[in-house]
Symmetry: C2
Subunit: 355 residues, 2 copies
């Protein structure tokens, strides 16, 4: 049995995979594959409608927001956010908390002036800057809620005088949020929602239409909203599997319940990292991510043997990102706590062997 700690595309619930595999052969007794049905068929329209309804329910999305499933990953949203929200001659504010935040910032530069309100670059992003002021005259303030590479997470959001745009790719649906705090939330599916190939956007309707930019259809949030995520052929299968995953999450008790599970998983693992003399955490404790747990070996020579030891136990995907090194255990929604215990056991066994 494999324990999949990969950072994404990441682990999905076994039940979801089983249903997805069945649908690839025979979707809902249509005698057709989910891969070969029309996106305009009543069967797929029901899938999309259920996916949107589940997003709304699970995150308590208030009135005045539109939910769309798009393509191109969060990286495309890095450009679409300023394309749709930043007027010519306007400026946008960014909180720089890692490589992905920085990539988002770079794309905004194609569309206008950018302000970095704070950065933790000088410490290789081991913490989330907290003393910053959000410029009132910027079009929006962009944040990355969870920094997959460094293992930091914005544990609390904050009031903002301007719309907050949030890349929530690696922690959406993992914890309760107040959607009303945000102007735009976007998230690639492949961590907590489904397979790679679709991106969810939750857009406050009244933030749109405020620039005079002429935006090509596929880049225009308004087109996508008016087209009900079907302005063109949507990524049918990725949306279907996302819907199944959200259905699974609802059956588990929703975001409130999974948040508790996620906290328990993260606490168990961080406790072991803090206890085990062979390892240490990478980030400041208060900003530690409950999704991506980054740690290193105190003795660099232990790194390769520990990876090998994990590999033998079916623990995969825990090699740290090259810009941080060490280990990264991604403990997304679908990862059972039993897998976390297998990793903790491995750390303890490795400790005994290396005393």
């Amino acid at each position: 049995m494999k324990h999949n700690f990969g950072p994404g595309p990441g682990i999905l619930p076994h039940e979801v995979l089983k249903q997805a595999a069945e649908a690839v052969i025979n979707f809902n007794d249509t005698e057709l594959s989910i891969l070969e049905i029309s996106h305009r068929s009543p069967e797929f329209e029901a899938v999309l409608a259920e996916a949107i309804k589940l997003v709304k329910e699970l995150l308590n999305v208030p009135e005045g927001y539109s939910i769309v499933f798009l393509q191109g990953g969060a990286s495309t949203q890095f450009a679409l956010a300023p394309y749709n929200l930043l007027p010519e001659g306007g400026k946008a504010a960014y909180l720089e908390t890692g490589v992905w935040a920085n990539k988002a910032l770079k794309e905004a530069k194609y569309f206008g002036e950018t302000i970095v309100v704070a950065t933790s670059k000088e410490s290789n992003f081991t913490y989330i800057p907290k003393d910053f002021e959000i410029p009132k005259d910027a079009a929006y303030f962009h944040i990355t809620s969870n920094n997959t590479i460094y293992g930091t997470q914005l544990r609390k959001f904050f009031p903002s005088p301007i719309p907050v745009v949030c890349d929530m790719s690696s922690d959406i649906f993992s914890r309760t949020i107040n959607v009303a705090d945000f102007g735009l939330i976007y998230a690639g599916a492949q961590k907590n929602m489904g397979p790679a190939g679709t991106v969810l956007a939750i857009i406050k309707d009244d933030i749109l239409g405020k620039t005079n930019r002429k935006i090509p259809a596929m880049f225009n949030y308004q087109t996508q909203i008016e087209g009900d995520s079907m302005y063109n052929t949507p990524p049918v299968f990725a949306i279907y599997v996302s819907m199944l995953t959200l259905r699974w999450l609802k059956a588990k008790g929703g975001v409130e319940a999974i948040e508790k599970d996620n906290f328990a998983k993260a606490k168990a693992l961080y406790d072991e990292i803090d206890r085990n003399p062979l390892f240490k955490g990478v980030c400041v404790p208060e900003d530690r991510s409950y999704m991506n747990v980054c740690f290193v070996a105190n003795n660099p020579e232990h790194e390769k043997p520990f990876l090998k030891y994990c590999d033998e136990k079916g623990i995969i995907g825990i090699k740290g990102h090259r810009s941080v090194g060490g280990f990264r255990a991604s403990i997304y929604n679908a990862l059972p706590i039993t897998s976390v215990h297998v990793l903790i056991d491995a750390m303890q066994e490795f400790e005994v062997k290396n005393k």
Copy 2:
């Protein structure tokens, strides 16, 4: 048993679906799903490399071209082609052969001047215009090789003094082409290549870098080429199933062999349309598509009963597009000739019943 004549997402080979379903549970004996493996894993890198190799082989792609798998469908390419190829103040030429050609044209208007070299709009696109001159001073000439809605197809390509950009979404891999005739070919996967969720682009390297536009990373063909289709997380599953479909095509004898099959399927169906007094074809015979066969009932009152009759026989997806009416039988690569014979039989039985 269903006979899937849907226009797309369309039919895929049964063997491909079987393998895809298995990979959703256990991909290549990794004990992981294809949906939860890293796109940076050697296993997926092998899939992507094989997909690109198969495209190269099957279409005899010459040196000097790059092959990438992108997201956002052909509709996104409508904007990316001018974004990448049309200089500020330049112009682009378009052949208007249907709704999709027109949508491509509209997106180009965001980037510069457009010239419609010819259109068949006045006849609701029942033919492909032939007397046109390609303006030498345009940046490129855009064509749609097959018009899914109307059932017309550019049966022969032509020499051009400027790069030809071709939307080949609905007939790529269905017939032999000379890639060297094109500057850029793009095609949504969901007709002849795989499921919805990825788009193939074959780009002549030397047509890039000729505008001074600053292009955001995800919209820039050069970024995608340099990133080997992995500048960001690619649509792993859609690429995997496309690879399986291309592998299937190669095993069938490649494009040359499937072209013969497709011709036989189209000929059988058009022959029946021309013979059967109840039906007639929509387009001028010389421009008839070998992928989407559009026809109507001579007596409009036969339309609904014939659709119902087909439905009872498991023939699905043949309702014509609302802008044309009647029937459309999409006979993509994966549709077996036996399904065409089932449709022909239905037409003949319906004829007898309605004598």
